[in-house]
């Protein structure tokens, strides 16, 4: 598992896509920190004292909320199905367990995002003189969910081209749907909000940890499917 995670982690740092995404994260972190006071002075925007205190970090959280799925899918949509499509997975399944492959891929991607988000938060903390562990944990839990969903889709769908297309659609549609379901008054569909991570992120308590549980369930399902998959 460690070898696969290490390879996945290193591979993610190679290539132009990841450089762009890391740059976007860093630029967002920098400017959200730099212009946080500008938002606070804008009378048309109302913030709670807590929100005002953490305003410099909201830029990052909002970025991950809106584009996180798109970023994660863009980079890792083919993490599993590329291997099965090109049959390099044969080298993996003949050497290690299928669960190790799924977990190795998951942790490799997770570690990449952990490093990127940590750097972005550290950069922000230079301006704010503070590292908000709560928002950092919320951001990482959301990313964990998005990574698990990406792995699940990559196992479910065997063609990398399809997951790429689906990644773009899902990356755009998921946050829109998530916010709509969060605020809709329609009783027939509003229960779905409990299945999305957005609901738990809007609460300022530890319920966001349920997002990790949802991610865990998706990884278990991905593993069960992959156990029966031909490589």
């Amino acid at each position: 598992m460690g070898v696969i995670a290490q390879r996945e982690f290193i591979n993610l740092f190679k290539g132009i896509k990841s450089i762009i995404i890391v740059a976007i994260l860093l630029v967002t972190a920098y400017y959200s920190a730099k212009f946080s006071n500008f938002f606070l002075l804008d009378a048309s925007m109302e913030f709670t004292p807590k929100e005002a205190e953490d305003i410099h970090l909201f830029g990052l959280l909002v970025l991950i909320l809106l584009f996180g799925q798109l970023f994660v899918m863009g980079l890792s949509h083919d993490s599993i199905n590329r291997e099965t499509h090109e049959r390099t997975s044969r080298f993996l399944v003949t050497r290690t367990s299928r669960a190790s492959i799924i977990l190795g891929k998951f942790f490799g991607i997770w570690l990449f995002w952990f490093v990127c988000v940590t750097i972005a938060f550290l950069l922000t903390s230079i301006f704010s003189k503070k590292f908000d562990v709560f928002i950092f944990s919320q951001t990482m839990s959301l990313l964990t969910f998005q990574i698990a969903l990406t792995i699940l889709l990559s196992v479910l769908i065997s063609r990398p081209g399809v997951t790429m297309f689906l990644g773009v659609i899902l990356g755009i549609a998921a946050p829109i749907f998530g916010f709509w379901i969060e605020f809709t008054q329609n009783a027939w569909v509003s229960w779905i909000k409990f299945l999305t991570p957005y609901y738990y992120l809007s609460r300022e308590d530890a319920t966001f940890l349920l997002i990790l549980l949802m991610a865990g369930i998706m990884i278990v399902i991905a593993n069960l499917i992959f156990q029966r998959r031909e490589c």
Binding site: V3, I4, T88, R90, F91, T94, R95, Q227
Partner: protein, 302 residues
């Protein structure tokens, strides 16, 4: 000790059986060759044993451990029939990564040694994406043996290689056997199997139809021969008696006018048949005995 043991191993696709209840035992230190036509089920069988595809039913064990088992995977080496290498990795990177995955870290020098054994020493820094088919095949063999496994699966290891490379791989396989390794290989190359394998299994339509050493298989097929006779017209009264008697001597009797073909198990029966024809007042003009060729032994359809 038994290296491979399968019991009633089956694989079906959409209800269509591809591998049908195979029972097989391969002892440690053997080079076991698996022969059969395309689509006979050889690769499906090897893929089940190596964990690439899950069996539909049945059991198997590798090196005494019931599979699929993660610990035993570290003790086996697999060269799949078809696989793309990681295009961005060099040969040394491949070997280091895949060996680490098998739980064994290797040095660059160890990688170079193995690459030399397969004849890839002059291409170690080239990325695998730029390799030719033959070079990919060689790297496929190298990655199967880099972690010094006890049991090695080679699915058509020399197909597509030039004569010199084939010889190099044959030498390597023999050397591996001398070091006590068990090798399970499939091949279309009859001469290769004859040269290398201690035991051979012939697969047809998902089943092993023949199994044994090369000598055992030859002996079996040599005892079967087809005799073709050209004879004079058989007197009307004798025809029925002669044909009935011939059917008791051999099998697959085919009669066309004054030509006759029959399969017998013992060459002594040829003289017996000639005497039988004489008793029925029929002359023999020509006798042709057709023994199976080497190719027919392996690709026998009956």
């Amino acid at each position: 000790m038994v290296a491979i043991e399968t019991k009633e191993l089956n694989k079906s696709y959409g209800g269509v059986p591809v591998v049908k209840g195979i029972d097989l035992t391969v002892e440690q230190g053997e080079i076991f060759g698996f022969l059969g036509r395309n689509g006979a089920g050889k690769s499906t069988f090897i893929n089940m044993l190596t964990g690439i595809i899950p069996p539909t039913s049945g059991d198997y064990s590798l090196l005494g451990v019931k599979g699929p088992n993660d610990q035993v995977k570290k003790r086996i080496g697999v060269m799949p029939d078809y696989s793309t290498l990681y295009g961005s990795l060099t040969a040394v990177d491949h070997l280091k990564f895949l060996s680490a995955l098998s739980g064994k870290k290797v040095t660059k020098e160890q990688c170079l040694q193995v690459l030399k054994l397969v004849g890839l020493e002059s291409h170690v820094h080239k990325k695998a994406g730029k390799y030719s088919f033959g070079m990919k095949k060689k790297l496929g063999i190298a990655q199967a043996i880099i972690h010094d496994p006890e049991l090695i699966f080679l699915d058509e290891p020399t197909s597509g290689l030039d004569a010199e490379s084939v010889l190099q791989i044959h030498t390597l396989i023999k050397a591996l056997q001398k070091r006590g390794k068990t090798i399970f290989m499939t091949s279309h190359n009859l001469a290769e199997v004859e040269k290398l394998c201690t035991r051979i299994g012939i697969m047809k339509e998902g089943q092993i139809v023949k199994i044994g050493t090369m000598d055992e298989l030859r002996a079996f097929y040599r005892s079967t021969m087809t005799v073709q006779l050209k004879h004079s017209t058989i007197p009307t009264g004798e025809q029925r008696t002669l044909y009935q008697w011939l059917e008791s001597v051999g099998r697959d009797l085919v009669i066309e006018d004054t030509n006759l073909s029959i399969t017998i198990d013992d060459e002594k029966k040829i003289a017996e048949m000639i005497r039988g024809f004489n008793r029925c007042k029929t002359d023999i003009y020509r006798v042709e005995v057709k023994e199976p060729t080497l190719e027919e032994i392996f690709l026998d359809e009956d």
